[in-house]
């Protein structure tokens, strides 16, 4: 497996997301809390087909995190990519890890 180093974890403000370019794909990386827990999903909003997911607000329900699209606010589970407002829609997920403070995405 090939791990692409993206940035340092401190480059991501806790409670927000950023967008990374991984082999020409737009990948949203989210850091919900002030720790090393990270999630990676496609940055393309499947409803609007715009590269915006990393700019959505993060929320938590019953211990699970989700992101609400900044355009029309559909919510997606960060761990599974499942859309919480439309069963038929799922965002592609990426494997992500932190190594010595460096954020890496598989691909």
């Amino acid at each position: 497996m090939n791990w692409n180093t993206i940035c340092h974890i401190d480059d991501i403000i806790p409670g927000t997301g950023v967008c990374a370019k991984v082999n020409d794909a737009h990948v949203a990386i989210f850091r919900p809390l002030n720790n090393e827990q990270l999630f990676a999903l496609s940055n393309i909003d499947p409803f609007a087909e715009a590269s915006v997911m990393s700019r959505g607000l993060l929320g938590e329900k019953d211990g699970e995190f989700y992101v609400a699209s900044p355009l029309l606010k559909q919510r997606f589970n960060l761990a599974t990519g499942q859309c919480l407002d439309d069963d038929s829609v799922t965002l592609p997920c990426y494997q992500i890890r932190t190594l010595n403070g460096q954020v890496q995405i598989a691909g």
Binding site: I13, G15, V18, V52
Partner: protein, 849 residues
């Protein structure tokens, strides 16, 4: 079997009520109903006629739910007056030659204004006050007039005077009796009312008779009084009582009272059993009822009778009606209950008079002191509901009845009659005859807020006087049912926005993490985060993109621009009051050209640049700020702009400097966050070119200062603003706006525009006025201080952002590459461009960016 045919003549408030009653009884298809309506529009609310001047839409006054007539299969003949009835053949003929046969006929022809035959009473610039057409004529005339007089100082006359004053003319009221509202008030109450009204700038002339009206020397009309004095005004409105419109009934051979009015019995039947009369055209036991509540009762009696005829069911009887009234005339509270004059034999009275505060209250009690017969309230009607219930339900008076009207100075306040003390049958809403148990039942059926109670029972939707009481019954019933009223923000906070605001202020909380750790649970969501972010900003006005606040900001705030459908942003620099210099325009044009931005004048009198890539935003703003612009907060829940008309500096009609004021206000309030976005409007004269009455804050110049309207809205659910105060000087105006904004920030719900907020406040604009102008809650000093601190801490967020290098990194599209977003593509349209649709994008993306 052929359906029974009902014909109704007249489509006023009572005529319409009859239709609602009969449809409610029998459904849509039971009768064949035809209605003659002489006016060009369906039934409207004459009780609130003067509000037409502030709102100007007949729709708002309309009493008819859209589609009611169609859905109910009622044939409505608009603008068609009935001309004769033939009771022998049971046919009504109309002016247009139409003939309509009936089985049951209802007269609801109402009344006409009585104008005394004073010499010179016919002619131009003389009006009556009854229909929307009358109001339109008065308004048109007032535009070319400096002064006007209302002849007649009764209830309607004072309504009319209020309308004249609102139209900005020097207003006079003339009353033949020695006091105003002689029907409802006693001498001292009338005197107090006169004094209060005079203090408002209306000239009261009581105890005078007009002998003659001639042409004036300095104004258009001259009135000569019986005491030899004269008065010159530009126009005259007569409000000298009403007379039943009984002419058609008289011509048709129906019995009429000696002094007018169609004679009816307790079933509201006329001399012909199949012909009824209801409302102001009817004479019952020698009385004509000039209020709407008795008319509504008659409508119900007739509907009952027609429906139950031939069945064994019981029908209701008309038994007179309570003529009590609570009103606000020219801003003065006036209440009159029952026997206000103490005419009942042996009646005794208690009087409380407070001259400095201009309050007068009187109780009239029975000879034995055990029951309330009547009351007069001027300047303070807070006891009205209480007293009316005592009277209507014959509740035994407490030992010291005077305590009912004395101010609450010590520990033992007035013995309030809590709603619990009222019998279930107590009438709460007399317009619609809704009892306490009707409301309780509606609550039990699941109507747990005021709006749905009003919608289901209609209680409080007539004159509106009982709304507070309806609210109390609702709350008592909810309490009794053990319903807990939840207004939690979301799963993470068991508090309302208002409560969180209070907590954040009192505990000096500065971040979301601190708040959720102390008072919430979990990690927040897209509901509570922006709400708390907004409150923090409203309280402390910190830079919204501090690291601890960044994750709280919604779509637009997080990159300080409005995100468009393709992920690009709009850029809108502030142009206070819509003012922009040629140099400024050139700078905007230059930026638009350099960054290839679609350019449009927005709805808020500013220039919007669209299609800016996120990574270009900092450079774009650097150019704009260098040219002297600041952020326009077009992305924020904050003040957007003050829309202005050109005003007195250039406009030849202008009365006040609307642009100057708009610029000043926009600069004063820019930047800090409010529960929802806010728009201001400032018009330089009553032509209202800035459409200020459709704004959260609307200001209209008058020749004496500024009129302040609040809680207007355009958008999805348009609402005209409520007039909060008139003729303010600039200092008072600004102080009042300061407090209005602070009060809104403190108490509104999340994402609640001022219009919705205002409608949620019990007491509405009157309540707001008490809080922010009369300081009834002792809040004004704090609110003034808070506003001063918000204004002082203003910063241009884009300027701050540009000064922080760490921030600038956030604006790149990729954190690990300088490439742009290749999904952002444009197609040409009208010499500019728009975002490509997905299909268009695929078609033109073979070449990788």
């Amino acid at each position: 079997m052929q359906k029974q045919r009902i014909v109704v003549i007249g489509n006023g408030m009572v005529g319409h009520r009859f239709l609602e009653e009969i449809i409610a009884h029998a459904g849509n298809d039971h009768y064949d109903i035809t209605v003659f309506c002489e006016e060009p529009r369906v039934a409207y609310d004459r009780v609130h006629l003067s509000s037409y001047f502030s709102h100007h839409t007949a729709e708002e006054l309309s009493l008819v739910k859209p589609g009611f007539y169609e859905a109910s299969n009622i044939k409505l003949l608009l603008g068609e007056a009935a001309s004769i009835v033939n009771p022998a053949e049971k046919i009504v003929s109309s002016k247009n030659g139409r003939m309509v046969p009936y089985d049951k006929l209802v007269f609801a022809t109402g009344s006409f204004p009585f104008v005394p035959p004073i010499k010179g009473y016919e002619g131009t610039d003389i009006f009556v006050y009854r229909t929307i057409e009358d109001l339109e004529a008065i308004e048109k005339c007032a535009r070319n007039s400096k002064s006007g007089i209302v002849i007649g100082g009764g209830l309607l006359g004072l309504e009319a005077a209020g309308a004249l004053k609102a139209l900005g003319v020097d207003t006079h009221v003339l009353e033949r009796a020695p006091m105003l509202m002689a029907e409802q008030l006693d001498q001292d109450g009338g005197a107090m009312l006169s004094r209060k009204i005079e203090n408002l700038g209306v000239h009261v002339h009581a105890g005078k008779n007009t002998l003659e009206i001639t042409e004036g020397d300095n104004a258009r009309k001259k009135l000569v009084f019986d005491d030899g004095e004269v008065l010159e005004v530009d126009f005259i409105v007569f409000s000298t009582g009403i007379r039943p419109r009984d002419r058609l009934a008289r011509l048709s051979g129906i019995d009429i009272g000696e002094r007018g009015g169609i004679l009816v019995d307790d079933l509201c039947q006329t001399s012909h059993p199949d012909i009824y009369a209801v409302g102001e055209c009817a004479l019952w036991q020698k009385q004509v009822f000039g209020l709407v509540a008795p008319g509504y009762k008659m409508a119900r009696v007739v509907a009952d009778h027609i429906f139950t005829e031939g069945q064994s069911a019981e029908t209701s009887l008309f038994a007179g009606s309570d003529m009590s009234a609570k009103l606000k005339l020219l801003g003065v509270d006036v209440g009159s209950i029952g026997d206000a004059h103490g005419r009942t034999e042996g009646a005794q009275s208690y009087v409380y008079q407070n001259q400095p505060e201009e309050v007068y209250k009187k109780l009239v009690v029975s000879a034995d002191g055990k029951t309330l017969l009547g009351a007069v309230l001027v300047g303070d009607t807070s006891d009205y509901d209480n007293l009316l219930q005592l009277k209507l339900n014959d509740i035994a008076l407490p030992e010291n009845p005077e305590a009912l009207i004395l101010p609450n100075t010590g520990n033992d306040g007035a013995p309030a009659i809590g709603v619990d003390a009222l019998p279930a049958t107590a009438t709460i809403c007399s317009c619609f005859d809704i009892s306490k148990e009707d409301i309780a039942k509606a609550v039990q059926d699941g109507n747990t807020d005021l709006a749905s109670i009003k919608a289901t029972t209609k209680a409080g939707t007539g004159c509106g006087g009982c709304v507070q009481l309806v609210g109390q019954v609702l709350n008592a019933e909810l309490l009794a049912l053990g319903v807990e009223v939840k207004n939690h923000l979301c799963d993470h906070f068991e508090y309302s926005r208002q409560e969180l605001f209070h907590i954040i202020r009192v505990e000096n909380i500065r971040s979301f993490d601190e708040l959720i750790a102390k008072h919430g649970k979990g990690h927040g969501c897209e509901v509570c985060k922006p709400t708390v972010g907004s409150i923090l900003s409203s309280c402390w006005n910190d830079y919204v993109l501090e690291d601890s606040h960044t994750g709280l900001q919604d779509t637009n705030d997080i990159f300080l621009g409005n995100m468009q459908k393709d992920g690009t942003y709009s850029v809108i620099p502030r142009m206070p009051g819509g003012e922009v210099t040629p140099e400024g325009l050139a700078a905007v044009a230059h930026v638009a050209k350099e960054y290839n931005l679609y350019t449009k004048v927005t709805g808020a009198q500013r220039i919007g640049l669209f299609g800016a890539r996120k990574e270009h935003l900092p450079e774009i703003w650097e150019h704009l700020i260098a040219a002297g612009f600041e952020t326009g907060q077009a992305y924020a829940k904050a003040l957007r702009m003050a829309k202005t008309c050109v005003g007195s500096t250039w406009c030849r009609f202008g009365v006040g400097d609307s642009v100057g004021l708009g610029v000043e206000l926009e600069n004063r309030y820019k930047g800090f966050r409010t529960p929802h976005k806010m728009k201001f409007g400032v018009s330089g004269c009553t032509r209202e070119c800035a459409e200020a009455q459709g704004k959260d804050i609307g200001i209209i110049a008058t020749d004496k200062g500024w009129n302040l309207y609040v809680a207007g809205n355009g958008g999805m659910r348009p609402r005209h603003g409520d007039l909060l105060a008139s003729d303010l000087d600039k200092e008072t105006l600004i102080r009042t706006i300061d407090r209005f904004l602070m009060f809104y920030i403190r108490t509104a719900d999340k994402l609640q525009r001022t219009s919705v907020w205002m409608e949620s406040l019990e007491g509405g604009v009157d309540y707001v006025r008490e809080v922010i102008m009369d300081d009834s809650m002792n809040l004004c000093e704090t609110m003034d201080r808070d506003m001063a601190s918000l204004i002082e801490s203003y910063q241009c967020e884009w300027k701050t952002t540009l000064s922080r290098s760490a921030q600038l990194k956030r604006f790149r599209h990729f954190i690990n590459s300088d490439d742009s977003d290749d999904n952002v593509q444009f197609v040409n349209v009208r010499d500019q461009h728009r975002p490509a649709t997905v299909a268009e994008r695929i078609a033109i993306t073979p070449v990788e960016a």
